[in-house]
Amino acid sequence: MLELCDIHGGYGKITILNGLSFKIPKASITTMIGPNGAGKSTVFKAIFGLLNIESGHILLDGRDVTGLPPRQMIANGVTYVPQGRNIVPKLSVYHNLELGGITVADQAKVRERIETVMNQFPMLREFRNRRAIELSGGQQKQLEIARSLLLDPQLILVDEPSIGLSPNLVKDVFATLQTLRDQGVTVLMVEQNAKTALAISDYGLVLELGQARMQDEATRLLADPRVGQLFLGGHVDDATSPGR
């Protein structure tokens, strides 16, 4: 589904990704974990065309999509839910959702999709005419995820979906991601709440210093003592990956 091959890139002269390579299969949830500064969020920006890639290739279903701008990545079925709040604050909930389908010429189809998405997230229908800034933090995150679903994406990049959410809302968000996976959508997620995220994931990926240090089934990563050490602030000494 998605393959990164020897990606080097960063911000200006600062290189963050140092030869990053990994593959994720279709209709799966993969969680990226790693210490602060490992380059987890930067990976998303590289995939979504928001970062200068110095070398390497990104393949989506075998097609080279390296460096394509966001509009073209969206057209290729990729959506991105960044870290933090990503709403247009003074527009209504409905118009925020509508923006999720801005690249689609057929507006009747967008309206139809909005109805479907509002059925999935009834809260959005209730507050459809409210300004997005008036929603709570958790509701705003649900709005962002709902908006990212508007185009029936094949791949969703989700950065820290649990930040600022109550435990119940985190459960809801993770359940939504699992449902999407069951519907054939591929999810690549970064999550500080690593143990919870790995528990609902199919695969895990450990990033360190801009490289993939380990990639395995999520259950095996959870049981790996080196990963436990990483959660406690250490680093992965052994560079060899068990692989899949």
Partner: protein
Amino acid sequence: MSQFLQIMLSGLATGSIYALVAVGFTLIWQAAETVNFAQGEFVMLPAFFVLIGLNVLGYPLWISLLFGLVLSIVVLGVMFKKLVVEPILPSGGISLIIATIALGTFLKESVKEFYGAEAEPFPPMFPTDPINVFGAVISLQDILNLVISLGVVVLLTLFLNRTRTGRCMQATAQSPEVAEILGVNVKRMILYAFLINAALAALASFLITPVYLAKFSNGETLGLIAFIAAIVGGFNQIRGALAGGLLIGVLDNLTATYVTAEYRAALPLILLIVIILLRPQGLFGTSEGRSV
């Protein structure tokens, strides 16, 4: 009573033209987070484009107005963005503000050098015959200026709120990063803001120059008053710019008639000081956080 009504209507007519220019300040602020201190000269220049159409190229008035509008959109919209804003904006907002001050001086001095320093008559678009409105005598030109200016601001507001392109412009203004990840063509939306600003400035120029005559220095006062109007109303709100423009137009007339004409020029500045002290975000504006 009829005198009061006359003063109010006349003030609203002038104020609505200030509002057009003030709305331009708001659009540029939202698009590029900068203040265009050449905005006054942006209002001065289109009148000279029309005069070139009339006196040099020999076009009739309506063709000259169209010529002036198109040339304004190209020069004050596209060229301003491409040649001034885009190269300088990465260096920071302050650099761009200084550049717009320099641009204003350049435009002013260029008109003086190549067209002349004398004030030139500018033909009105509408009849100037006086009409009677509930006993108040006011020119038809003033009434139409008011109707057209308010109509354009209403249309602009409807465009921004009721069309997809307008909402994309709002998304770009409020959260450019979010707009980009959603696939909004952010660069195009910013360009639209500059084009609309240029068109508003041209319209303001065509409406106000018949009253003030065409002169290279017209932008000095106009730019300052419109800037104050935008701040008084709320720099980040179109309705604020509209309210600020109308308020200054009316207060200016009322002061000149009932208080003193000698200090009327000081009124907008006094209003500015009062607003900054009591409500820094303006009458309709909202506070914007900035991290340093």
